[in-house]
Symmetry: D2
Subunit: 157 residues, 4 copies
């Protein structure tokens, strides 16, 4: 259970709506598999266009879903008239991402009125088990008065 | 002109070959537009699957080409029997990536036998001009005895 | 209890010895308050030379003990003939470090033969309670054949 | 010459005043050796309390002056009624910091109304020459209506 109370009671619908409007998420076949206050999971199944010649997930795909999972975790706690923007992130690739499915589990470490700090742990499914493969830490900004979700990510005031 | 001397005289062919085998780079339509000792540029033109509803490039696409440009810059200086792996990277999103084409210019800051530090500056073309939109710093590892290029990225020994 | 098995049975004595030889740790009055396989805590009590005019701990002091706590956590799992070196770290300052004592709790996220990834959570004691104030993620390198501990930090092969 | 125009004509006096009130900077013997719009240098001479047993500068001292140099570079461009706060930073240690004097050269990469991105390059003087030893990238926040300088660093709204 989440330890956070959302400011927007319709946070789940809003996150789903924003996710569905992201062309890049659809392009790679990513799904939003969990949304709770301060928590968001994004998963993607392996296909050749997401990989390298060894059949591992590309590091860029890992970064993309980890950044978005962390961003939506932050967005879930924001007021109704706000959108969210990634200020910066850092990712450590911990192990080969060999497997059939990639899951990024984002969570809010520290919510803030202006800035929030989030973490995403990324796992790859292999032989029926989840293996840790990456860890992301990011800083997100609340954009008050701009109600269009993560879509405005990487915009800066 | 580059200030580095490559250990592998065939570095350019090797980088191109590795780039061409990356499914994820082809999937997003990225091109390797420059390869010199310690320098690599990757560009991608805008299409809906790379964006958000506002027509900006998605932050994940920016991270993907920036990470790869920095990685290939490092790879260009590595010996013939080595491959390269991204250990970690940090990216700051500096301005909206609104435009028709995205260019990541990677360069080696500090080459090392085991670890190299690289930077990639990312620009977006808009109204015929390049505008800075992101900055990445990454740590890359030389994997000796594994001659398959960036393809093994995010593998860890 | 730690989930790691140390390669060096004398790891605790070795970490303490290395810590005691660090001039900078003594200079700020830092103490090593815990050492277990993959875990290390460093604490420091407030004094004017560690602060700002508001009586908060300086961000540099926070970074210093967090980096060292993460580094010693990694060092505790390394073989007897190795030393440890900080490759890079990222720190997020989460809240004001107002209080009487600062504690950095370092732990290994992913140990590796060559590279290890660690995290340090930093807390400040105020009104008898610990408050989270910073979070660090770092990459550490095992320097085989150099048995002098963290003292060689920021050296690069 | 700087490419930035300061909002506060008295920026240099203000930065010096803030620097002089920082206990931690005095404690390690650091000096502010340059202040121009968007640029700040901080230097410190070697003494045993700043080092390791090998006579290198401690990584924590490097982080401390690099973070402050970047922070004061940002602060130099802020309005008169604002103070500055470090949100996060990442540092790569590039080479051994063996030498007699350490210099961090901070500069603004991207100024912003709310957030600024800065870089600091750190050099060590050895045999009469400057050698690159570290590189920091940081995110700084403008705290409007709080006119006390970097002193409030690591405070979060």
């Amino acid at each position: 259970m989440s330890r956070f109370t959302p400011k927007n009671p319709d946070f789940a619908a809003r996150v789903r709506d924003s996710f569905n409007r992201q062309g890049a998420m659809a392009h790679i076949g990513a799904e939003l598999t969990r949304i709770e206050p301060g928590l968001a999971d994004i998963a993607v199944s392996y296909r050749p266009g997401l990989g390298q010649q060894h059949g591992y997930f590309h590091g860029g795909i890992i970064g993309m879903i980890a950044d978005s999972a962390a961003g939506y975790a932050a967005f879930s706690l924001m007021p109704q008239d706000a959108s969210v923007l990634t200020v910066e992130y850092k990712i450590n690739l911990l192990a080969p991402s060999e497997g059939t499915r990639l899951i990024a589990r984002g969570r809010v470490i520290k919510p803030g009125r202006t800035l929030s700090v989030c973490q995403a742990d990324v796992f790859v499914e292999r032989d029926g088990q989840e293996h840790s493969c990456a860890m992301l830490v990011s800083t997100l900004m609340t954009m008050t008065g701009k109600s269009d979700g993560l879509a405005s990510a990487n915009k800066k005031p």
